[in-house]
């Protein structure tokens, strides 16, 4: 469509966030989401048939959008190094495979990942702000963030305070995001909404806008520690939010579904959703990411199937 005049400028945003009451008024004034309709739309888009050249392109695009993630209590420097090697060269036998977008680790392992990835072009994202629960004093959350950035993280994946959001304290959620954004400096800020705990699509839309108004560079569905994690309808609602936000403010915000994306089919469904909701402007690793780990091997397996005509079997995929 033609470029619309910007309806929501800096002053407009300042007015919205000037008080708890006006912020609440704005968020509750957003159009509602009909649950059945949203699910139906997502399901219909999931029936798109992506074959041949489109599939090949989609697989490479999906690989380049992967935030290769390990977020376990048992993570070690060795595990992180191995994953970094895979991130830079997902398929060692085929140099035409693109590298993934970033690796995503806990904040204390950022330094290790940065060392391992130097010169590869793969960035390092760190979860921070007392991931995954976010239940810690703000000082601790900010210290967590600063440390990750100091160690070289290029992206910070923060969690919002879902308790505050559900209690109606939007202002607190907003202020924390603003403070974390400040602590990030030049690092990109992804804001995890943990949609599995927000439950309703209305909440997802409001939390998306709240995060974007507070300066999020990306909005992300989930930590992966709560079920359900990313779903197609939730991602649809978030893609509608970033589309509308850009139309009103002129600023583009990225989207990252995370958790539960395991197969190439899943990944392609998300790309179709992006293509037909937010539009092709979002179809680059700069604006759309897939937070996942196991999906990479399936993407590689399907890629090899397309190029060689046969499936290689799981033993041909590295397990890192």
């Amino acid at each position: 469509m033609t470029a619309e005049p910007i309806a929501l400028d800096r002053q407009g945003v300042d007015d919205i966030v000037s008080s708890a009451a006006s912020l609440r008024r704005f968020l509750h004034g957003l159009p509602g989401v009909d649950q059945v309709g949203a699910q139906e739309r997502a399901a219909r888009l999931a029936t798109r048939s992506i074959k041949k050249s489109a599939k090949a392109e989609a697989i490479d695009l999906a690989i380049s959008m992967v935030d290769l993630t390990t977020l376990e209590g048992a993570d070690t420097p060795g595990k992180v190094r191995a994953m970094c090697a895979k991130a830079a060269h997902p398929d060692p036998s085929d140099p035409s495979v693109p590298r993934v977008a970033v690796v995503c680790v806990y904040s204390d392992l950022v330094a290790e990942a940065v060392r391992a990835l130097r010169g590869t072009g793969v960035g390092v994202a760190s979860v921070a702000t007392a991931f995954p629960a976010g239940r810690a004093p703000l000082d601790a959350k900010l210290a967590d963030t600063r440390r990750a950035v100091e160690d070289g993280a290029t992206e910070i994946d923060m969690v919002i305070d879902r308790g505050a959001f559900l209690a109606g304290d939007h202002r607190k959620v907003f202020d924390e995001i603003v403070a974390t954004k400040q602590a990030c400096g030049d690092a990109h800020l992804k804001v995890i909404l943990e949609t599995g705990e927000l439950v309703t699509y209305d909440n997802v839309r409001r939390a998306s806008w709240l995060a974007m108004l507070a300066g999020a560079d990306f909005i992300k569905t989930s930590t992966g520690k709560v079920a359900p994690a990313a779903t197609l309808p939730v991602t649809l609602v978030m893609l509608e939010a970033v589309r509308d936000f850009r139309a009103q403010t002129g600023r583009q915000v990225g989207v990252k579904p995370a958790g539960g994306i395991r197969t190439t089919k899943d990944a392609i469904k998300y790309l179709v959703l992006v293509n037909e909701t937010a539009g092709p402007d979002w179809l680059t690793p700069e604006w759309f990411r897939l937070g996942a780990s196991s999906v990479l091997n399936d993407l590689l397996m399907q890629r090899r199937k397309l190029t060689t005509g046969v499936y290689g079997g799981p033993d041909y995929q590295t397990l890192d």
């Binding site: 469509m1 509602g32 009909d34 059945v36 139906e40 048939s49 992506i50 989609a58 790309l271």
Partner: protein
Amino acid sequence: MSGKLFEYAPAPESRDIVDIRATYGLFIGGEWVDSTGEDHHKSINPATEEVLAEVAFATAEDVDRAVTAARQAYDKVWGPMPGRERAKYLFRIARLIQERSRELAVLESIDNGKPIRESRDVDVPLVAAHFFYYAGWADKLEHAGFGPAPRPLGVAGQVIPWNFPLLMLAWKIAPALACGNTVVLKPAETTPLTALLFAEICRQADLPPGVVNIITGAGGTGRALVEHQGVDKVAFTGSTDVGRQIARSVAGTGKKLTLELGGKAANVVFDDAPLDQAVEGIVNGIFFNQGHVCCAGSRLLVQESIAEELLDRLKTRMATLRVGDPLDKNTDIGAINSAAQLDKIRELSQAGEDEGATRWSPPCELPERGFWFAPTVFTGVAASHRIAREEIFGPVLSVLTFRTPAEAIEKANNTPYGLSAGVWTEKGSRILWMAERLRAGVVWANTFNKFDPASPFGGYKESGFGREGGRHGLGAYLK
């Protein structure tokens, strides 16, 4: 990604699964028989204009043979058969439809022009669901609320349209058979092929000969059928004009009649509607099946305060609609069913422009051969314009605005039709308030074009009378 757009490579469903004969006779008394006449009609693929098959135009003599076969089957086999036995045949047919669903979907898309996504995901599953649903009723009719021992009517003459060829067949045949009637069905002349395949399914299910008879032809055959003395019940879905003629010819004969005719449904969007889903509902309301839907939401009534925003969103959404090869699994809008229908859509759209409405279509490349019409929206439409009053039966939406709920009701009801309506608002009380006042047989709330065999369907005013579907649908085939 090459270029900016994520181009979906063609993903055509294979048509190898269907086996179309060069010529078709009539299905009478469980056998394929030749017509006594010489007239034939070529059924074509509206997406390519390729000739698919030659089908017979049944003569009055053929109609008589078919009605006689149906009468015999009714008297000797189907009428006396216990309901639980009839149910077995209906369940068997339902399962065969599921088994052969891909074949039916592909054939439907080839003959009708509708996208395979719709024939595969909507039409054929609903067809099977209808047979399953009415199979369940066959042995429970005495509990359906039509008295302790309801009786079938006899022979039903059924004439169906070309927009949902197989689904309309199911709506007609399933309740008729469940109630113990036998049928003579005439599919539309442009879309006879799935009905003829259904005849094969009846044979496969070992349905007793004569219970279902399928005769092909045009208006003349239909007239001979509804006017035949041996027919006890006439069921028709189609245009209001033909419906009037049928009502006239059936008047005073003692035949029972149900008519499901045209529509000019209002889809009413309030300022507190869930906008993204409302846009989907508008698209689904008017562009589903190329707008060849009698209950299509062809009049969008939008509250003036959000009209501009809603239309912007609608146009953005319309630009993503994929028009083209009906067999491509990614096609959203297929071909217009016939040259005649395309002419009618063009004529009414031209009238819309001439009367001063503003016409808009997204940029879209239409195939050179076949019958195609780009999805179109008219804004600035006045209630007096032809495009706001006449049924276009194509992918053309007329947008009107309103200020208050009362005005919305007034405008929505200001039509000779009354088949369906839609209401979009997050306010539950307003949905109920609207539903009470809308003079339409079906009112959808925060959705549109939803069908279910358990739900009755039918119209007010010039949209016809009688109900199909659900328990109510049994009433049309019982006395």
